[in-house]
């Protein structure tokens, strides 16, 4: 074994072993059991429990928001398309000189009432 100097920047293995032995505490198993027992006694409060699910909750909420946004965007696009096609049908029939049927007029009115 090489002599260790206080200047060395690497841990002093010999001193380390001696220190670990000098500072060793007895009854490790009993200590662990004692802390485990306290752990089970100590019920976590609702806010600690909630905090445990914070990130999962945040991800789930983001997904729901994204899905809702996508759905809103998609279905409002479809509604706009159907409004446009209803108006187009009335206009084209009037231009053709034919009288639009009651169902076409009704659809056109309903579409224009929708905000």
């Amino acid at each position: 074994m090489t002599e260790h100097s206080p200047f060395d920047s690497a841990p002093d293995a010999e001193l380390g072993v001696a220190l670990r032995e000098a500072l060793a505490m007895p009854f490790g198993g009993a200590f662990v059991n004692r802390v485990r027992a306290r752990l089970n006694q100590r019920q976590r409060s609702w806010d600690e429990e909630l905090a445990g699910w914070f990130w999962q909750g945040l991800v789930a909420a983001s997904l729901v928001t994204m899905l809702a946004g996508w759905g809103l965007n998609t279905f409002s696009g479809v509604a706009e398309e159907s409004d446009a096609s209803a108006s187009a049908t009335v206009a084209s029939q009037l231009l053709d000189g034919t009288t639009p049927g009651a169902n076409v007029l009704l659809a056109s009115m309903t579409a224009s009432d929708t905000p």
Partner: protein, 184 residues
């Protein structure tokens, strides 16, 4: 290293799994108690502080960042618990100062007149300022890097180097004396 995925255990503990946290206690029990003892120099107080540290860590496990190592995070909490206990102990300690260190009083071997290396090292440690004591124990005995110790103790890395140097020099003297006695 233990080979156990501590981040996974900590993640399970974060979801309220007390058994997973119990496994973490088993892994770190010895080190936490040694470090607490190095600060408090009393076995009962060290156990109380280590226990308090583990319970605080259990309470705060949701704040543990799993991208970082678990051991320094836990040890920071244990060191804080030990320092808190020492402060409380100082406040209530109105009794006169004793020339014998608590560490020395703790060991029945001293009463029998049979002074061993462990006791001499504990006595030498007790003469060091706490910061030096912590630096040398964390570096040489527990294998922490100097940068980690600096973060743990809230001091610059250069100060850690200096503390390790001075602490180690004092302890090395004790080791040398014991070796010489053994050779004689």
């Amino acid at each position: 290293m233990t080979g156990v995925d501590e981040a996974k255990l900590a993640a399970r503990a974060g979801r309220g799994d007390a058994d997973a946290f119990g496994a973490l206690i088993e892994i770190h029990e010895a080190m936490a108690r040694r470090v607490a003892y190095a600060i408090l120099e009393d076995r009962e107080d060290a156990d109380d502080a280590a226990q308090e540290g583990f319970l605080s860590a259990w309470k705060a496990i949701n704040r543990y960042d799993s991208s970082k190592a678990f051991r320094p995070w836990l040890m920071q909490i244990v060191v804080n618990a030990a320092r808190d206990l020492r402060r409380r102990r100082r406040v209530r300690a109105a009794d006169p100062l004793d020339s014998v260190s608590p560490a020395a009083k703790d060991d029945p071997a001293r009463r029998a007149g049979d002074i061993d290396l462990g006791e001499r090292l504990r006595a030498a440690l007790a003469t060091l300022p706490e910061r030096q004591r912590m630096a040398v124990v964390l570096f040489d005995a527990e294998g922490y890097a100097q940068a980690e110790i600096a973060e743990l103790l809230g001091i610059p890395e250069g100060t850690v180097k200096s503390d390790v140097f001075h602490g180690r020099r004092a302890l090395r003297r004790v080791l040398g004396t014991v070796k010489e006695e053994l050779d004689d």
